[in-house]
Amino acid sequence: MLHLTLSIAGSGYHPASWQVSGQASGLPPSPGAADLYPIVRAAERGCLDAILLGHGTDALRVGGVGRANTMQLDPLPLAGALIARTTRIGVAAGWTVDFTEPFHIARVLATLDHLSYGRSAWLVHMFGTDALAARIGRPPGTDGLSDYCERAGEFISAVEKLWDSWEDEAFAVDKASGMFVDPDRVHRIDHHGRYFTIRGPLNVPRPPQGYPVLIQSDPASADGRRLVVETADIILTRCASLAEAAGRYKDLHRLAAMQARDPSSFRVLADLGIVLAPTAAEARQRAERLDYLVAPGSAIPRFVGTPEALVELFTKWSEAGACDGFNLLPAVLPDDVALLVDAVIPLARAQGLFRAEYAGATLRDHFGLPRPASQYREISG
């Protein structure tokens, strides 16, 4: 079964998207969430696995300041708002491990997971941009890539400890005995690492999913890739061809085997930009028009064509073992999402490639991922 996620940003991932989207209304794109609610509801109607916020937004920064709709809502409050307007679809919020502390990320993501009854995901950005570094007031760049990956690895492991610091049974709320929290099942983590010192425990009960789903992009460096294969539930690849994607898929699984990671415990999704239209000629015209307005200059592989051709691509790539599904980056909102949900999904369903309804309640259920047990379970027995 194929997995499909949808990334949303700006007016769509094409830097010229705002020039063609919502033309009927004549209104400028709203920086708020109102335009996004119908898009996310449509994605939920299509039973997509999750919405990704804050992924691949560099694609919008081409063409110089002021050319593209680069308005970026902070993915965290946006995730909160989208959770409130949906009931089944997962919601992933991007947050870099740079310039922040594990306690903040553990606390916010645990909260989002509780509010959504287990539908949250953390889109882990390993690298902040230099522009962000200046805004935060830290020197740009890193001390060296391997140190950097080591820090990211320690960061993620500290976040997981914090999520585990409340065992599942810790939130006892036993009215009769008066035990609100079971102190035997809440643990200080006493983390003393090279980069972080954290006492804990977290002050949020264990997330419904154990850990919110961890989504990471497949990085170019060997150190980075090792870390991602060790920690990610979902790995996003960015490959220009089927052959490259199939090779990458094998690589990732080979690395996982070397690290003794169960291959059924993670999924690989291929990033794919989409420009859709009912006929191939119209799709081509749409893409040409957009590219004429602003040359995209982005590294995101792009599909231009009909819903039928996209479903064909889904089939080919999955049969060739190139991925477990796709993370789709629509060129224009809401246009490409409308065709995705109304045309692509029904076709994929008819061919038995994609679910007709959600089977489980949590995002881990949608992805078929196991729910991790708390690492502190042994201590209290």
């Binding site: 969430a33 902070d74 909160g80 307007r85 909260t111 989002l112 929290v181 972080f196 009960p205």
Partner: protein, 435 residues
């Protein structure tokens, strides 16, 4: 009169989670917050207020058995609520001691955009040492320094919110210009605590800036509030104290060249009402019955900064030892010590007083009586309204909205409809111009 709803898991009474009508399992899920917010909006409340803490509540190094949970993340809650309400103001709490200005400016600008102008930021410097240990610090930053940092922090956030002119988004499709770069002004801040270069990646928030809120009553907190705050969540439980506090803050504002009307003071008020005085008392007594001695002794120990766990419950409160221990006591604690001396109160009796107090104003009585009480405070210049802290959720909030709000409205004290759509409209605060 302005009304806020102060959210706390299960309710503000320490034993609320044990109340038969409360479902304590649900307090982290969306349904709990949606229900509370929608009731408050039905009651035309100005705002929905969520506190935030960065450490678990512990006793002797272990999470507190009888009540060791505080609010889950306030930005997540308020942003979720923004999607299921139309007018209600949304105040989230974030610490200036354990965050970076850019992130916080971006977060609140986003909340203000997502909610169409309903965001407020409760600015805290974090009061407890425990938070330091979760952020790699050996001790909590000293208070004067914390407030200096907070001031610089807020100044940077304001500069970032102002980094786009109100008309920076031109969205000229014909020319292909989305935003006019000449109307976006990256900041270049070099200060004692922070250096920040760049602009926000968002247009100016609908309210200009989110409403700036403050909640501490210490001298440093009052100074900070007089300088920057537009709303104070106050803790005075007696009318004359509240009036003195409000007078002090308003006087201090003048020193900073601010007009006193630019700031609204909302003391916390936790009411329990009944159709008769007796019914209200009975409701309160039923709830007080559910207080476990251990939780009271823990609260008392925290407030007295003195370990009382090894004392017998029926022993006299060791006021001499407590006074000699060198803690820095609040006026509330000193008055409790005096009373314990005067009346010879036991540890248990004091623990019960503290556990019942809800740390803010309380009122137990009839609907009309509560309306009288609130009107008296307002007319006496003790406040601009109240932050309502229901004893338990959602029933006591429902009672307030269905029974007390109509009386306040009938008396012309409270709005019957929202006049504007933004939090600044509700509070009667002006929209800040770009600095």
């Amino acid at each position: 009169m302005h009304l806020g709803l102060f959210i706390y898991p299960a309710g503000h009474h320490i034993a609320s989670w044990r109340h038969p009508a409360v479902d304590p399992r649900g307090i982290a899920g969306m349904d709990f917050y949606r229900t509370a917010a929608q009731i408050a909006e039905r009651g035309k409340f100005d705002l929905f207020f969520v506190g935030d803490m960065l450490a678990a509540r512990e006793k002797d190094g272990r999470v507190v058995r009888e009540g060791g949970l505080n609010n889950i993340d306030s930005i997540s809650i308020t942003s979720a609520i923004s999607a299921v309400t139309e007018c209600l103001g949304l105040i989230a709490t974030l610490s200036t001691t354990y965050n970076e200005p850019y992130y916080i400016a971006e977060r609140f600008a986003s909340l203000d955009h997502i909610s169409n102008g309903r965001a407020g930021w409760n600015i805290i410097t974090t009061a407890n040492d425990d938070a330091a240990y979760n952020f790699g610090q050996k001790s909590h930053m000293e208070k004067t320094l914390r407030y200096e940092r907070a001031k610089e922090f807020v100044d940077i956030c304001i500069a970032l919110w102002d980094s786009w002119d109100d008309d920076a988004v031109v969205a000229d499709r014909a020319r292909g210009v989305f935003a006019d770069p000449a109307r976006i002004h990256p900041i270049d801040h070099q200060g004692r605590f922070f250096s920040v270069r760049g602009a926000l990646e968002l247009p100016r928030p609908p309210q200009g800036w989110p409403v700036l809120v403050q909640a501490g009553g210490s001298p440093a907190g009052i100074e900070f509030a007089a300088m920057v705050a537009e709303t104070i969540f106050a803790a005075q439980s007696k009318l004359d104290e509240a009036r003195n506090f409000r007078d002090t803050v308003r006087r201090r504002m003048a020193e900073y060249g601010r007009c006193a009307d630019e700031l609204k003071i909302l003391p916390g008020l936790s009411p329990i009402v009944g159709s008769t005085e007796q019914e209200a008392r009975r409701k309160e007594a039923e709830l007080d019955e559910l207080i476990l001695p251990a939780v009271g002794v823990w609260m008392l120990s925290e407030q007295m900064q003195f370990r009382l766990y090894d004392y017998a419950l029926d022993a006299k409160l060791p006021t001499g030892d407590i006074r000699a221990s060198g803690g820095s006591f609040t006026p509330r604690v000193i008055s409790l010590l005096d009373r314990a001396d005067r009346e010879g109160l036991t540890v248990h009796a004091c623990a019960n007083l503290v556990a019942k107090s809800r740390s803010h104003g309380t009122f137990v009585g009839t609907v009309e009586g509560l309306a009288d009480y609130m009107q008296l405070w307002l007319d006496s210049g003790a406040c601009d309204g109240f932050n309502i802290m229901p004893a338990w959720f959602p029933d006591e909030l429902t009672v307030f909205v269905e029974q007390v709000v109509p009386v306040l409205q009938r008396r012309g004290l409270f709005r019957t409809e929202y006049a504007g759509s933004m939090l600044r409209d509700h509070l009667g605060l002006s929209y800040p111009r770009r600095r």
